[in-house]
Each structure stands twice: as structure tokens, then as C-alpha cells.
């Protein structure tokens, strides 16, 4: 694997730091409780756990779609818990997100969907052209650039979503069940894409039920959630070797 499996990783700075983080929606019970962990820069993490364990909620905290109801979150070394919402776009631009349901804008072409992060960052149409074509070619969709999402297959939409998530070379890539809608072969291809990106320095967090995917990545670290809590708070991991523990 990439930098995520390096034994020197503990010396690197942390992309994300969660301290006693809890989350509840409205007045309901807490869906996440007492989360304490660090994501090292350049790491590759799988987030696992049964349905309803809180994986998606944890990812939402990571990509700033939710604020914690208690605890402290630091992202890229900066405190986010009480940060004004005006400051959040700056962080979001450093995060790529692959949603379970792709979240592609239906009336935009694949090209425009992939170009969206660049345009939001201020790139002109001319500046966008080359990188987007290159990225579409990278995910094997060079000839589908002008197609709109409803005309694409599930796998193609997934790849467009991934291309959109990584076009800005994010510091953190978050993927929620990225293989949930694709066959095994496509799942492997996606994993290779994530691995390649991880090698380029991006911290990758993949929420998945897919054991095959995890087994295919022996160096990746595991974060297991059960009932909204870390199931393995001491960081003892079953899949990867000892050097790849989650820093809890």
C-alpha cells in the first residue's frame, strides 16, 4: 500500500483528530458516542461496522456536513468545533467526498460534474478543460464526458463521483460505501483508484461492508463502529499488522 502503511506514520501530522466526540440528531439519542481517534496524514482507513452503527454519521462529521453535539474535532490541524460556518468552505475544498448515492447533479454533464470543484475553487473554463479530460480518461470515461448522469450506468456514475471527489487532489478523501452499487470487478478498480490516490499523499477513509475490499487491502487500517462507539478503542486491529493501528 501507500503511505498509509508506513511505520513512520505516527510521526506525521494528523489530518483529523476526534476527542470525546458525540453526535445526536435533534432530541434523539446519541448516534455517536465518545469517539476518540486520529487519522494520520497519508493513511488509508476502512470504516466498518454493522448497519446503523453510525458510519455515515461519522463520515458526515469528517466532511463537515454535521457538527458534533459534544467533543472536539480538529481538521488539518485547526479546531473546527466552534468555527464559524463562513470558514467551512475552505476546509471542504480540501476534502473529496464519494457519496453512497453519488450525488451527481443530474442536469450537468459528466464533464461539468467533475469540473465543479475546480470551478468552485475559482478555475476558469480554460483551466478546467485539461485536468477534467485527464481525470475522465483516468476513470475510463473519456468518451462519456458529455453524458448526463441519468444516462450513465451505476458504475459510470460512481466513477464520475470519484473523479469529482479527487479532481482537486484533496488532502482527505471520504467514501461512503463506494462499492455498494458496483460489481466485484468494478469494486477492485475503484480500490485501485483509491490506492493510487493514497500513494499521491491523500488520506483515504472508506466506509464499507465489503470484506473482500478490506481483505484486498491488507495494509489499510480499520476503524470499527458498533452502536455509535469505537468497537476497538485500544486500536488493536485484526486485519492489518500491528504497525497499522488506528491511533486511539
Amino acid at each position: 500500500m501507500g503511505r498509509g502503511v508506513s511505520g513512520k506514520e505516527r510521526k506525521l501530522s494528523h489530518v483529523a483528530e476526534f476527542d470525546s466526540v458525540g453526535l445526536r440528531y435533534g432530541t434523539g439519542a446519541e448516534v455517536l458516542r465518545d469517539l476518540d481517534f486520529r487519522l494520520g496524514q497519508g493513511g488509508f482507513y476502512f470504516l466498518t461496522g454493522p448497519s446503523g452503527a453510525g458510519k455515515t454519521s461519522l463520515l458526515k462529521l469528517l466532511y463537515l456536513a454535521q457538527r458534533p453535539t459534544r467533543g472536539r474535532i480538529r481538521l488539518f490541524g485547526e479546531e473546527l468545533t466552534g468555527a464559524p460556518r463562513e470558514s467551512l468552505p475552505r476546509f471542504r475544498r480540501r476534502i473529496g467526498v464519494v457519496f453512497q448515492d453519488f450525488r451527481l447533479v443530474r442536469h450537468l454533464s459528466a464533464f461539468d460534474n467533475v469540473a465543479l470543484p475546480l470551478r468552485i475553487s475559482g478555475a476558469t473554463d480554460e483551466q478546467v478543460e485539461g485536468p477534467v479530460r485527464e481525470m475522465l480518461a483516468w476513470v475510463g470515461l473519456a468518451d462519456r464526458a458529455s453524458a448526463r448522469p441519468p444516462t450513465l450506468s451505476g458504475g459510470e456514475q460512481q466513477r464520475v463521483a470519484i473523479a469529482r471527489a479527487v479532481i482537486n487532489r484533496p488532502d482527505l478523501l471520504v467514501a461512503d460505501e463506494p462499492t455498494g452499487n458496483v460489481d466485484a470487478e468494478m469494486a477492485q478498480r475503484l480500490l485501485h483508484l483509491f490506492t493510487a490516490l493514497n500513494r499521491l499523499g491523500t488520506t483515504v477513509v472508506v466506509a464499507t461492508h465489503d470484506l473482500g475490499l478490506i481483505k484486498a487491502s491488507p495494509g489499510a487500517k480499520l476503524i470499527r463502529l458498533e452502536n455509535g462507539s469505537l468497537a476497538d478503542p485500544t486500536g488493536t486491529l485484526r486485519n492489518p499488522p500491528r504497525t497499522s493501528r488506528v491511533e486511539a
Binding site: 460556518r85 468552505p89 471542504r92 475544498r93 447533479v105 450537468l108 470551478r119 476558469t124
Partner: protein, 289 residues
């Protein structure tokens, strides 16, 4: 300053096509039409009131009861009085013609007593009391009346109508703003998904707002100009009647400034709609994380 208005093709695609599918442009067009017609009426009333007021400000009448024999002497006395700019006797035929509008042919009857009437205008600083004294020395039975007292109620009504027109313009502008707020909220709801995606990718409120602001500004501009064009047609058709009214009031018409105000109104309405849309969108976006 207006960079937000100039969207690149890719920015234009973000909210999809169908710029004028919604009712915003039509609502703004109706408001623009109504505002312009009412504003034109208000400005014409103001102009009329102003001219009328100016015309009668220093005008007075002396009335002698019917049968008085000293009308000519009185006219000479008024003309020669210090501070009188001009004085003219109203011919009896004109008096009878005026009365004829109410009395019909009976107004021509010799048995109808018709008073003698002298109209005179004063110069600035004239001493009315001295003139009145001079008139009474020639014709003690004469009465002097200021025209502004007779026309005062009419002038007051014109001023009230002018303010009513101004109030209506404000009310219609407020109604247009409310329609824009509803349109902005509707557009936000329609594009909620796109906005969530954009926010998730790192778009600022300003970036999202500029998309809606531009869309509504274009709708408002098209609507305002359409309404203004329709109002201009109606005002042109009414211009003959306005000329007649102008004659009655001594030629009161819309001045260059009035036309400038009317031309600026659709642009002001567009600016108002854009500003209101911006505030509405920003307020709605702030509710999200």
C-alpha cells in the same frame, strides 16, 4: 461591481435552463407596468398642482354687483395701483358663456344679473391692503377674492392624490419584493440538491447566492422592461387626454426630470428585486451548515 451578473456558460448551466419558466418575470412585468402608470399619474398631478399653484398664487378678482356703473373707473384704479402687474375685465359675454354651462340658454337672458369681474395679478412684494383700500375708495361695494382660496381645496386634493400615487408605488414595490422573496425561496427549494452538492464541495454562500441573484436579476430586468414598454404604450394612448387636461391647467405636462424618473423606475425595480433576492437567498443558506 457587476461581475456576478456576467455568468460564464458553465455557471449558467448550474441551475439548468428555463430562465423564464417561473412567474417571476411576469409578476415583475405587471408590477412594473402598474408602478409606471401610477408614477406617471402622480408626477402629472404634481406638475399640474405646481403649475396651477404658481398660476394663481398672485391672482385676485374684484367683483362688482350687477348693475354697478363704476366698473371702468374701478378697472383704471386697479391698473394704476402700485404693485399690480396686470388687470383685465372679464367680458360680460364670457361671463354669460361660463354661466351657460350650468344655466343653458337662460344665461343669455337680460333679466339675469351678471356681476362685473376684474382679474388682476400682483408683482412680488405688492401691498394687497393698500390695493384693497384703493378699490374700496372707488367702489365700496366691491369684494376682492384671492384665487388660491377658491382653488385651494382642488390643490389640496391634487396633493393628496399625488401622495397616494407615491404610496401606491411603494406598496407595489413592496409587493414585488414579496413576490421575489417567494420566487427565491421556490428556486432554492427546486435546486436544494444542487446547493447541497455545491456546499459539500466547498462553495461559499456568496458563490451560491450569485447564481440565484443573477437568475432573478435577469428575470426582473426582462419583466421590468416588458412592463415599462406596456406602460409607455398606455401612456402614449392617454397622451391626448393628458393634453386636454394640460390645457385646463395651463399646459402642465411631464418635465424632463419626470421622464428621467420614469425611465429609472424599471431599473430601480430590477435593482430592488435583485437585492431582495440576494438577502432572501443568503438568509435561507445561513440556516444550513
Amino acid at each position: 461591481m457587476f461581475a456576478w451578473f456576467l455568468a460564464s456558460p458553465s455557471e449558467g448551466r448550474l441551475l439548468g435552463e428555463g430562465r423564464l419558466r417561473g412567474p417571476t418575470a411576469w409578476v415583475i412585468a405587471i408590477m412594473s407596468f402598474s408602478i409606471l402608470v401610477i408614477a406617471a399619474a402622480g408626477l402629472a398631478l404634481a406638475s399640474t398642482a405646481g403649475m396651477l399653484s404658481q398660476a394663481i398664487a398672485e391672482r385676485y378678482s374684484v367683483e362688482l354687483p350687477a348693475g354697478a356703473s363704476n366698473a371702468d373707473a374701478l378697472l383704471n384704479a386697479v391698473r394704476s395701483a402700485p404693485g399690480v402687474a396686470s388687470a383685465d375685465a372679464v367680458p360680460e359675454s364670457e361671463m354669460r358663456a361660463t354661466l351657460g354651462r350650468w344655466l343653458g340658454p337662460a344665461a343669455q337672458s337680460p333679466e339675469l344679473p351678471v356681476p362685473a369681474l376684474i382679474n388682476f395679478d400682483l408683482r412680488d412684494g405688492a401691498n394687497l391692503a393698500a390695493i384693497d383700500q384703493r378699490i374700496r375708495s372707488v367702489a365700496p361695494e366691491a369684494t376682492v377674492a384671492a384665487h388660491r382660496e377658491a382653488v385651494g381645496p382642488l390643490l389640496h386634493s391634487l396633493r393628496v392624490l399625488q401622495w397616494v400615487a407615491f404610496g401606491l408605488v411603494l406598496l407595489l414595490s413592496a409587493a414585488a419584493s414579496a413576490a421575489v422573496v417567494l420566487a427565491a425561496r421556490g428556486a432554492l427549494e427546486n435546486h436544494r440538491f444542487t446547493i447541497e452538492v455545491m456546499h459539500g464541495i466547498g462553495a461559499t454562500d456568496e458563490q451560491v447566492t450569485s447564481l440565484f441573484q443573477r437568475k432573478i436579476a435577469i428575470d426582473a430586468l426582462v419583466g421590468s422592461i416588458t412592463g415599462a414598454a406596456a406602460a409607455a404604450l398606455v401612456l402614449l394612448m392617454l397622451s391626448a387626454g393628458a393634453s386636454f387636461a394640460g390645457e385646463l391647467t395651463g399646459g402642465a405636462t411631464l418635465s424632463g426630470w419626470d421622464f428621467l424618473i420614469l425611465i429609472c423606475l424599471p431599473l430601480a425595480l430590477t435593482a430592488l428585486a435583485t437585492w431582495v433576492a440576494r438577502l432572501a437567498v443568503l438568509a435561507a443558506l445561513r440556516k444550513a451548515l
